[in-house]
Homo-oligomer: 318 residues x 6
Amino acid sequence: MTLINQLSSQDEIVGFYLLKELEIKQTNSTPPKDYFDIMLCDSSGQISAKYWDASATDKETFFPMGLVKIQGVAHTYRERLQVKITKIRPATEADGVSLTDFVRSAPIRPIDLIHTIQGAIASISDEEIAAIVSFCVDKVEEKLMHYPAAKMHHHDYFAGLAYHMVRMLEIGDFLCKQRPFLNSDFLKAGIILHDIAKPEEMVAQLGIVSEYSVKGKLVGHISMASNWITEAAIRLGYDLDSHKVLGLQHLVLSHHNLGEWGSPVQPQTAEAVALHHIDSLDAKMQMVEDALATTPVTEEWTPFIRGLENKAIYRLKV
Amino acid sequence: MTLINQLSSQDEIVGFYLLKELEIKQTNSTPPKDYFDIMLCDSSGQISAKYWDASATDKETFFPMGLVKIQGVAHTYRERLQVKITKIRPATEADGVSLTDFVRSAPIRPIDLIHTIQGAIASISDEEIAAIVSFCVDKVEEKLMHYPAAKMHHHDYFAGLAYHMVRMLEIGDFLCKQRPFLNSDFLKAGIILHDIAKPEEMVAQLGIVSEYSVKGKLVGHISMASNWITEAAIRLGYDLDSHKVLGLQHLVLSHHNLGEWGSPVQPQTAEAVALHHIDSLDAKMQMVEDALATTPVTEEWTPFIRGLENKAIYRLKV
Amino acid sequence: MTLINQLSSQDEIVGFYLLKELEIKQTNSTPPKDYFDIMLCDSSGQISAKYWDASATDKETFFPMGLVKIQGVAHTYRERLQVKITKIRPATEADGVSLTDFVRSAPIRPIDLIHTIQGAIASISDEEIAAIVSFCVDKVEEKLMHYPAAKMHHHDYFAGLAYHMVRMLEIGDFLCKQRPFLNSDFLKAGIILHDIAKPEEMVAQLGIVSEYSVKGKLVGHISMASNWITEAAIRLGYDLDSHKVLGLQHLVLSHHNLGEWGSPVQPQTAEAVALHHIDSLDAKMQMVEDALATTPVTEEWTPFIRGLENKAIYRLKV
Amino acid sequence: MTLINQLSSQDEIVGFYLLKELEIKQTNSTPPKDYFDIMLCDSSGQISAKYWDASATDKETFFPMGLVKIQGVAHTYRERLQVKITKIRPATEADGVSLTDFVRSAPIRPIDLIHTIQGAIASISDEEIAAIVSFCVDKVEEKLMHYPAAKMHHHDYFAGLAYHMVRMLEIGDFLCKQRPFLNSDFLKAGIILHDIAKPEEMVAQLGIVSEYSVKGKLVGHISMASNWITEAAIRLGYDLDSHKVLGLQHLVLSHHNLGEWGSPVQPQTAEAVALHHIDSLDAKMQMVEDALATTPVTEEWTPFIRGLENKAIYRLKV
Amino acid sequence: MTLINQLSSQDEIVGFYLLKELEIKQTNSTPPKDYFDIMLCDSSGQISAKYWDASATDKETFFPMGLVKIQGVAHTYRERLQVKITKIRPATEADGVSLTDFVRSAPIRPIDLIHTIQGAIASISDEEIAAIVSFCVDKVEEKLMHYPAAKMHHHDYFAGLAYHMVRMLEIGDFLCKQRPFLNSDFLKAGIILHDIAKPEEMVAQLGIVSEYSVKGKLVGHISMASNWITEAAIRLGYDLDSHKVLGLQHLVLSHHNLGEWGSPVQPQTAEAVALHHIDSLDAKMQMVEDALATTPVTEEWTPFIRGLENKAIYRLKV
Amino acid sequence: MTLINQLSSQDEIVGFYLLKELEIKQTNSTPPKDYFDIMLCDSSGQISAKYWDASATDKETFFPMGLVKIQGVAHTYRERLQVKITKIRPATEADGVSLTDFVRSAPIRPIDLIHTIQGAIASISDEEIAAIVSFCVDKVEEKLMHYPAAKMHHHDYFAGLAYHMVRMLEIGDFLCKQRPFLNSDFLKAGIILHDIAKPEEMVAQLGIVSEYSVKGKLVGHISMASNWITEAAIRLGYDLDSHKVLGLQHLVLSHHNLGEWGSPVQPQTAEAVALHHIDSLDAKMQMVEDALATTPVTEEWTPFIRGLENKAIYRLKV
């Protein structure tokens, strides 16, 4: 079975893949015929595919997010690789394949990521801060097992959000040791809460975001998280005007740094400044690491990366 | 008694004024002497003033926000009018003057403004929306009697915030009649809630903002109002995920229109688009009206107005 | 006959439509065949269509802006609805259909819109201002009966420009009552003149702009209107340096508010500030109203609207 | 007599100078005393000065734009050179000094500049274009003898505007020879007309702009020139819609290149593109030349120049 | 033989052309067939073409940058002209055609351009400056015979870079005569060096840039040229800290004027300001001249030109 | 002896301080008297001071960067604390005070910082990279003992530049462990080289930058470092086109990330992306840490920090 990121033009391809997207279209021949316009994916990447002779039965059999076995050939169309599918059938139980094997995932098991996050909460010495963080995490814990951190920009895969949190917690720990004046309770809390409402902002399955939710568009994850902190404080009986509540809301509200990037206020505490830069460092480095990992080793340049000033990354030969 | 906005250079000035600001400074003569650097104000405007021979007693007698009787003369210093105070004494009860006579105010009595706002809430047909609006207004009702709408940009005087709301409600009523597809419940609610947290964002006395509160800086009035709506829904037992709560939060969060102007989301409902433009229309027209009213009639041009692309307004002679 | 904005995929479609655009293209089959690439429209909206077997006779029979009767079926192509035409014939007199029934129009009859505009001119108390406004309106009066206000952004339909003026006059009347310091002569004149040269800036038929004129590109409607005021004053024998002429030119020149939006000067009279905000309020609200009206009721979201920060509008369910 | 741009700290200064600005102010000693805050200028530059003991007679004797003989000393105040005046008297006829000797001027006599401009008009082969240019030049010919091209940015001295035109005409001639596809009639006309309304936009005396006129602020020199071309065509009986009129208006309207720099349309003819770049080249080079000429030769760096990205110019030693 | 910029729809086309680009693609018929997607060019312009029946032999015969004789017909596809090739064969020696006849070229022979550039270097009076310029020119002299100045924006053809230099040298000579304070050694050197590293920044053949080099992307032509000046000074034994070296590096580094346009420092010497404006004037005028020359004379408007604010240029009829 | 950052209004002050700036000015009394306008500093901060009766002897005795013993009193002038000096004398050897005790310094000894940097170079496994880094460090090693990293923005004190490097090396080590795909040789080299030319860009003494050098303004530290790498490769006999040289130049050139921040190219290698974000994280956190450390503990807010969106930092009370 060929991994998608290893395909070259004219390669035969046989194996199991996920129908990430599937649309029924018509050729402009006379008479027009139905065909499937498909986005195939596996754990290594994704590729456009066509299945030209979709029968009436086929149209009842294949749907997006289904696992299939295909046979086909890769060729170049408009300067990009594409697969022409010659045979296709649904995967069956007997095939012993599982959906989650066909999507990109964080390199650490979700259960271990959650464990690390819970450990970080447990290590917060201030009880109120820890309780508010727990309240918010509980709202999305099930989704934290699989949600990506974003639709496209970074950590856009299975459990990408939890992975982003865990990596940021590592940086946060380092930074608190390097600069002891930082309040590690606030910094840990900020790292865990800053994107905590993303699972409600986006609709995702298997680490793939299909769209933003209505609430995601009208309120946004930043204000949602701020509202959740308010809710937590009310439910837990804490003072809404305390510096703890204020400090947590400020961390969440300011973490995008600028108004044009979505933050209604700018960082004005030491931990808020740290949070923004840790978030930025981790997201950008992950973009680089993922782009290099999913680009065939024979390519010198990755594709353009929107989050990095739309630049490609080069592999220096040293 | 001369109104401040009627003074010309070399005018004698005798009468009661408010010490809006007062600072003790030292001349750079040898030896240095203490003097008062003062901002005098009355209901028509404000002017810088100096009192050169501040005695030890004077320093115990005069404080910011105190009413005084002064005698002095206006003269030009660095191209701006200034008052040199020759005599000064505190106002006494016998003088029969009242602080509120010496600050600029909305042209309608606060009690009548509040009455109009309460009437608008009563006319909201949806019970839940009305109850949430009432909950938020109750949090600041006392302050709504006197708070300005902003530190400097517009409606920066006694009861300016309530006046801004009432004028916007008038425009909103007109617009709902002109365009019946608009939901008038949401529009009224949005108008009343959009700046409702400003009294907690700013510290003001007699319509004069001295500074922003810590919460105002770290959270901001937009996110505060969003949190209040969450709190209202929890306290009143409403569904936090209903379209009513969502719609109200969206109105508040989006009313500055753009991220760089402080809104974390952009208007995406008909009423949110209307709210932003009504807010903008009323604020800008009030800037124009106030600038013309406080500029001496003999002047062709008002001062530059920061909120109007930093342009001055000209009086055409027609 | 199915209205275009009511079509769903797989719907049969039979009825009269306007060929808003028609281009002859060739398939890339061997040998290539001619087909028609068409934009169909009716009063409710527009939709892309293909007619695959265009004969030599067909190519002599069908032209853009012709009325036709078609039979076909709607289907989805690249995520957008499209019509495959199976039969097509020109409409004949016997069909009793009229071009103007097949384009979107303002909801008020053009003759009534013109009447309202003339009434507004008649209500201008200053004779010179009224005469200058009349002079400019006379230049385009015939076109005012049907011109849209823009190519795409807002009021882009039959008599859209006159409708925009009339709605703005209503807001202007309200505002002059709310804020009596405004000069209603100038405000009315500004509303009528601000886009008065648009019919010379754009080439339009039946409310549909096909392109900008050479003069529209090289001079622009703002400077054209300013030149017309100069011309009016010369022809009518008025003083070119009077505050009336100056005030009118300023209204026209400044109504886009900022240089990057096309205004060489920024608003510096009370009426110019009002004009810009009335224009903006009316245009934006119309975008919202039209987007909601032309989006199928079953859709929660309208398409993205460029003039509203490229956001879609959501229908809250309350 | 010491030239202002040759002064060093502690230099004695005796001679005739112009009171470019004079304001009566008061010291903050007790009692305060009147003094003159003065801007002295001569043909080489300008410098701030103080005259500390202004008597009642002095206040009746000295006014802005008057010629005086002074005695004083230069010293450094807040890192800038300043003159302390010890003696001052008005210049008399007997002194044989003339105002125009005390202001900076273009290096060519105004009469010769005008002559060159008239020659350029005479060389325009198209009669209509030449006549329109003449009509506009006639409106300001007297002012063209002495007006600066701007308040501060470039050519801000006696006859600076005419000098700017003449230099641009030289570049234009060169460019038409280098690139014969350019229409030299249009280019000459554009060069002469592009800033032709500046004398009506600004109020200036002896090459010094004191302020912008009301018309300058409300209409601006670009739209004024466009209106003048309309007026010229009407008065001369030319077709307002001809490509000649259109081409001239386009040149004037587009010469600032971008909306944010004041042009309502962008250059869209070959000559309009050329005009903008010739204007820019000449203005920038003159800023450099003037900054170097008015900075003492002992200084390596000129002051910061706003029009050159706020950079200073360095004298390389080669 | 028809020149490409003279083609109209339905024209027969027979003659020799260059295969500027050639890609093998597949039709989406069943079974799919191979075809060539081609960009044809000659000295007058370029045009898209299709060759629908590519045999196995064809695929071994035709490659990008090969000369061919074709027969075909022009037709409109998606509003743009395209050629359907019916016959194609490689050009042979017997045909007597040469590659260089089929690409656009500067209007002056490369050898003459180089001669002019060498003459300019010889006229630099300062020996060290002349030697450094020579050193850098020697690095690319062979490429200077044919390299374009840019991938698309301006002078994007055979010997375009040398042509740009020569034209700028002419403007520089004129400007040094008009403003004698300019140092003509520095200005000539700056003109020759400013884009001298472009041949190493881009990969080009026959005046056509196919891509940027790795070094071009990671270092850029501006820093490369600065490094070359360092290298020249070391190799020639000059002082790295002299004002000559400094002045040359400054010219190169600042010639894009602003950081966002790629210059790490802004112009701060007279010659650096001049260099930027001469570069800009020449590049923009060439864009205009080339756009007009390659647009069929029957067209009023050229295509949109990205480097001119994305505006098209209009041919006024005078 | 009172530390400057502990002063309050009306405090007596006696002790040794550094005259960071000293200017002789004149009072505007009659007759004017000479006084010293002084910036005092010690290791904790700096404060403005005046010495009103500067005698002729004083003017020969006191100069900038001299150590003095003063007696005086702190008072508030224009809302800022200022010192009025009553007695002043130069420090003598007998006083046993040393200049370096009176300037702010990095919290680690310079010799230890240099030691750490040399250790990092020694740990670079690639010999060529290590040698190039050494070559560049050797150019400024003496200055690295005391130079600040910037004039004002961050690390603006004694040995601030070396301290910045060392802290970044710590973050770099952490990041290479967290993300092993990073090339630690390049990252270490990039950290050490990115600001290596700053000591030649700025003129500084005791950690205080007085101005930028001519080379600093005309070339800038980024291009200087790039040139040094070229020089190193030539002197050491390495291939100028190797990926090692290219990679190092790219790191230096791109580390400001955007053109408008001074980088002619954007980061396009993994290590270049990392370098920019490590630089940013360390600089911003240091701004926060230093602002909190130098603001009296009784103050809730630090002053506004230009490098942090001009926001102040708040001390939460938790």
